[in-house]
Amino acid sequence: MFSTIYILWLRQIKRYLRSKSRIIGSLGQPILFLVALGFGFGPMYSASGQGNFIEFLAPGIIAMSIIFTAMYSGMEVIWDKQFGFLKETLVAPVSRFNIMLGRTLGGASVAMFQGILVLIISTFFGFQILSFSGLLLGFLFMFLIAVFFTALGTAIASVLEDMQGFQLIMSFLVMPIFFLSGALFPIEGINRTLYYIIRINPLTYGVDGLRQSLISEGYFSLGLDLVVLAILAIITLILGAKLFSKIQI
């Protein structure tokens, strides 16, 4: 039983490691954000007495690279429906729940790895990790964010027919989730409506938890972040597995 999960996990990892262009390509955007926003808004941010902007920004950019990689990994299901051997895999005598779990954990591991790369890169921009225990806690948040979004991507991909829907999902779901999560700006004193949107956004708790872990600053409590994110990740995982096991090709 666990072997299926492991095999599918390994498959996703190998697939990622083989596509060097994807690894490098997906670092471009986070670096651009760090440069443009970090150096662009940094002086304004410090001038208003809020401290070092890179410290604030880096966890948000790490989260960004994780959610984009994770969504992409999850949505690879669409691609595999058309070109891969998903059909054969789905006809194999193994539980589809385990197939989904293996794929998702594989995609999540890849996304988390990507997040760690961005974390390393941000240290070159002056980002400082406070403690080793904070770093470990940060890894946990990165993993939960990765699981949540890979599972979400898989759930969506399971019901979409072709790649055409992908762009739509990116523009109208993933982008808003990212921009309205407190990843790029502080939540304090924000417009009321926006505030409520941010509060119901799952990523908000991921970014906040990541910030709490890495730089000991944040808006909610670490416990709340962890509980909310973990519960959402599990729910999405179960929902994703349900939809995945009903895939029609």
Binding site: I7, F83, F85, E88, V91, S95, R96, Q248
Partner: protein, 240 residues
């Protein structure tokens, strides 16, 4: 004889278009059963439903006595399926593909190796098996996928156009492989639009057109019934 596959009143609607209409047939142990019909007849749709990757709109499918709508996971233990447009990750080598699929069917490493060796041999790809799938020709890929479908020794082998894209020599070779398997007791369900191939290969066949089975039986019986020289003639008479 032992029924391996029972299909009863199978129908499929894509939105309001009915692709498969009330189809009935059985496939017995050690038998090669062919669904023949023109493009768009509903062959692939039927096979997908039997292979449990598409839900029927109505009707029943039993594989080895197991109702696929009730326990598809159990039913899948008995089958192997070659999709018509099967792909493989282009960056994977043929050998890695076989290993991956074998590991989905067995936990035991030794059994995996036996299957991979069997398929490697059958695919006739030799050293190229270590090359990436994207460097294969269409026919080479097809043989790789076919070998994979066969290696797991299913009770019911579902092949959607097994010889499409193959040259004469390879097609003949593949037909022999399929015949051999059926002699060993495997029930084979295949689709084709090549009437002559089906006449040679199958024990029984069903002619399907516009989602409906128009005739079913042994090739010889059908030819006699419709006073035809060959299946193509039978087909022309039935569908005109």
């Amino acid at each position: 004889m032992e029924k391996i596959l029972e299909v009863e009143n199978l129908s499929k609607f894509y939105k309001d278009f009915q692709a498969v209409k009330d189809v009935n047939f059985n496939v017995f142990k050690g038998e090669i059963f062919a669904l023949v019909g023109p493009n768009g007849a509903g062959k692939s749709t039927s096979l997908k439903m039997i292979a449990t990757i598409l839900n029927p709109s109505a009707g029943k499918i039993r594989i080895n006595g197991i109702d696929t709508s009730k326990d598809s996971e159990e039913a899948r233990k008995c089958i192997s399926y070659l999709p018509e447009d099967a792909g493989a990750y282009k960056n994977l080598s043929g050998l890695d593909y076989l290993k991956f699929m074998a590991s989905m069917y067995n936990d035991d490493k030794k059994a995996q190796k036996t299957q991979v060796d069997f398929a490697a041999n059958l695919s006739n790809l030799g050293k190229k098996l270590k090359n990436k799938v994207k460097t294969y020709s269409k026919g080479m890929t097809r043989k790789l996928l076919l070998s994979r479908a066969i290696m797991t020794r299913p009770k019911l082998l579902i092949l959607d156009e097994p010889t499409s894209g193959l040259d004469v020599i390879n097609a003949v070779n593949v037909r022999d492989i399929i015949k051999n398997l059926s002699r060993q007791g495997v029930a084979v369900l295949l689709s084709s639009h090549n009437m002559l191939e089906v006449e040679y290969l199958s024990n029984r066949l069903a002619i399907i057109d516009k989602g409906e089975i128009k005739a079913e039986g042994k090739a010889d019986d059908l030819k006699a019934k419709f006073q035809s020289q060959n299946l193509e003639e039978v087909f022309m008479k039935i569908t005109k």
